[in-house]
Structures are given as structure tokens and as C-alpha cells.
């Protein structure tokens, strides 16, 4: 399906700025995620995060548990430690609403020893 050129260009820019913001958010969460000693590669928890336009975290809930309380809690703690994703504040409000007002956040380690 072909995009009219102007719309395609706007789409590409929108995607790229959102992608950059998401990359920053991912990096910050990574730096704040302390895994419990019982964490293993392949464990997975899916959180739902709610933000306000300043980037403050106003809601964290577990959509899908890993089965390990310690693991789930480590993910929640990582988001709590970040507390504010100030990088979303630069986005146009429409992008914020579409992508970051409420978004899924999946923790699935690949770098653990086991």
C-alpha cells in the first residue's frame, strides 16, 4: 500500500522521534533494574505503565506476572527508581497520548548467567 509522500515523511519523522525517546527510557530503566539472585534468562514480566505529560510515573501494574514475586518486584522497583521519564516532555502532546500515556513494558533478561 502506498503512502502519499508528505504523509509518509511525517510518519517517518514521528516514528524516529518517538523511537529516540523510547530508547532513552529503555536505557534509564536498564540502569535501574537490579535483578534478584533468583532471576533467570527467559523469565518475563509485563507491566503497564501510566505517565503524565511531564514524564512522572503515576501508575505501575503487572499485566502478566513472571511467576516470581521477587522478579516482578524488581521490575516495578526499576520503574519506581526512575520515577520520572522527563524525555517524554519534548514530544508533541499527540505523540505522548498515543505512545506513552499508557504503555506496556516488558522485562525479559538475556544477560544473566543462567
Amino acid at each position: 500500500m502506498d503512502l502519499p509522500e508528505a504523509e509518509g515523511q511525517a510518519l517517518a519523522e514521528e516514528v524516529s522521534e518517538v523511537q529516540q525517546v523510547a530508547a532513552l527510557m529503555q536505557a534509564r530503566i536498564t540502569q535501574n533494574w537490579r535483578r534478584p539472585p533468583s532471576a533467570r534468562n527467559g523469565m518475563e514480566v509485563l507491566l503497564e505503565i501510566s505517565l503524565v505529560p511531564t514524564g512522572d510515573v503515576v501508575g505501575i501494574s503487572v499485566s502478566s506476572s513472571s511467576g516470581s514475586i521477587a522478579f516482578d518486584r524488581s521490575a516495578i522497583a526499576a520503574v519506581e527508581r526512575v520515577a520520572q521519564f522527563s524525555e517524554v516532555a519534548v514530544l508533541p502532546i499527540s505523540d505522548f497520548e498515543r505512545y506513552f500515556r499508557r504503555f506496556p513494558l516488558r522485562f525479559k533478561p538475556e544477560d544473566l548467567r543462567y
Partner: protein, 430 residues
Amino acid sequence: MLLRSCVFVLGLFLTTTSSAQLEIQVTRGIDNPTSIAIAPFAWDGLGSAPTDFAQIVDSDLARSGQFSPVSRRDMLSLPAAREEIFYRDWRAISTRYLVIGRVSQGTQLRVEFSLHDVERGVELFSGQVVSAKSEARMAAHRVADSIYEKLTGIPGAFATRLIYVSVTRNPDGKDFYRLTVADADGRRPIVLLEGRDPILAPSWSPDGKEVAYVSFESSRPAIYRQVLATGKREQLTNFQGLNNSPVWSPDGKSMALVLSKDGSPDIYLLDLETKQFKRLTRHYGIDTEPTWMPDGQSLLFTSDRGGRPQIYRYELATGKIERVTFEGRYNARARVAEDGRNVALVHQRKGRFHIAVFDLVTERLTVLTETSLDESPSIAPNGSLVIYATKRGERSVLGAVAVDGGVKFSLPARSGSVQEPAWSPMLVEQ
């Protein structure tokens, strides 16, 4: 709308759901050691406590590299019972977990302990260890094993022992050898055998009740087995040439060892019941340093059949031999952990010898030590720690390194050199 009907994949870490939501994926993190507080255990017996139980648990967990125990000085209170715990005291010092305990004494020692999640303010687990009064330190190690397993999912290996050879120089300038067994933390050393003749290559029976070793006390090196409790010995070999590297099979029925009686050093199997020897390897190169896989189906060994020392696997049922290590020009002296997965070995990099761990599942080799003359690694039965001999000046001392966490420490040194450590298997409660 176009956006809703197309699926965008934005980099590796973002995926969109069908309603154009972005999902952020986090696949890495930072792992600091977990902070844990072990409050001093109460002592309900007469006189003073036989040992500082909490301190032993503290030291064990710290040495694993995965825990960062809180200093006693920083504790705001010292609870020994559930009702004495004020979680806010522990949140105030940012500890994740708390262990409390109480020790009583009748005909035996009874150590009751419990593990608490400070953030949630709940008890996670409680247990008790019963032991003979003389085994107070081992009882504390068993508490540490229990806590470690609860928090990591890996069985603890603190209530284990080490055997090693200690060499001192006599006033007459001659070396004196002592085959010594000690707790895994280096404490309570007991001499099993001593003399002027070299003792080498000690190893453990699978039940932890016997050791095997090479002794030069007769005219040539021979392999012996010895019961720890009674000192009773039996000579197992008496061949010309090398008699070396005895290692018990996991079922305790046979022993792999190295003999050079038929030419170059090769691996042989001794049936401990029939006393029959079976030759396993037949290469003109050097095949040595066997170690068993925990299922008893195969052995790893060092061979230079490919030109330089590497680790190979010998499958007992078929006699098939295949190479295991491919990274680097020199890999030798493998020791397989009871987990069947982690193998400690000596790896040479840029002319220096390091202790490394090879993961048989991921086939990843991780160098653990940076000092240049490290040898004789032995790995804890749970694969978590490696002990080895390292040069300190003229002497050889025992170093230990955590397989993750990078914690390094050395064992209390006596005078003289300490070499060839062997870690016991997991021990049955005594």
C-alpha cells in the same frame, strides 16, 4: 488508518501491538550484590555461645559475591524473635532481607532461624538446623546454605570441606608435606597424613568420607585411598612410571587415574571392587587430569593430542573422544562441578595462566583471575566458587573467586605453601 493497519518494528526493543501501542523491552540490567542483614543469633545455652553463628552466615554470603551483608555496627536493633522485628529499622538502612536466629542446646545444638523480606515486611521462610555440639560452625554453614538457596534458587555449598597439601620447609632445608582437610572457609584444618615424601593430587569420594591421593612414601609414586574418620588406608596402585590423578566415579565404584606404564600417560579405570584396570585412552600424546561428569557416563581430561593441551571428553559406553575446548591455545586441568554444567580449568592467555570457568551449556569461557600463575582449580559442588593455588612471592596460597560477582579472597594462610586444593562434594548432614 494506515498506522493502525501496518505493523512497525522500531529497533530491536520496541514492538507495536495491533492497536499501535509501543512496547518497550528491557533485556539487561545491573546486578549489585543483594543487601542482607544477619542479626546476631541469640544463645539460650549456658555459658558463652560455641561460635558467632551470624558472623559465619554473614561471611559465607559475602564470599559468594552475590550478597552484601550489613555491618553489625549499622544495625539499629538486634532482634532474635519475630516479635522483636521492626521493619522500619531495616528499611532505614536499605537492607532487602533480614535473617534472625536463636540457638539452644540440649544433647544437641538447635539453630532456629528465619528469613524476612524487609520491603514487604513479611517472613519468607523459617527453618532449623540440628547438629552435634562440636559442629557449631558447620551448623552455621548449613543455615547459610539454606538462606542462599532460598534467595538464589541454587543449593548452597558453604557446609562443605576442602582437602589440600601444605608444604613447609624444615630447618634442615627439606620439604615437609601435610595432607590437610579443612572447612570450606579454611577453618578447622586437620592433618590426615604427613611426612617428608611428596603427597599430590588429593581427591574426594562421592560420599565425602574418603580421600584418594598420590604418595611417594614407597620407592615410587603410588595411589592410596584413606578413610577420613579412621585413617585407614589402602594402596591401590604400584606401577612403574606415573601413578597420578585419582578421581572417584560418581557412583563410588571405580576410579579414573593416570598411568604411564604402557608408554605415554594415559587414562585408566580401576574397578574398586575387582581391582581390575581398564585402559581408556591409547594415544601417544599425554592424556591426563581426568574429571568425571556427574552422570558418570563420561570423563573430561586434558590431552595434547591436537598439538597443545585442550580439554576432551571420553564417553565410557562407546570409547568415543571429542574435543571440548576451542578457545585459546591452552586449556587444562578441568574440574566439573556437581551441577554438571560449570567446569573450572586453567586457561592460558598471552602467556599467562588464569583460572577460567567453561559453561558446558552455553560453551562460554569466562576468565576469572588476573594473577599470572594460577593452577589447580577446584570448583564448589554448586558451581558457584572456584578455589585455586596461586603464587604469592615464594609461597603458594589458596585463592578463591566467585564465578559471578568477581569476588576474590584468599584463605587464611599458614606458613609454607598450600597447593592442590580439592573441594568436597555436597556433604550429607553429620
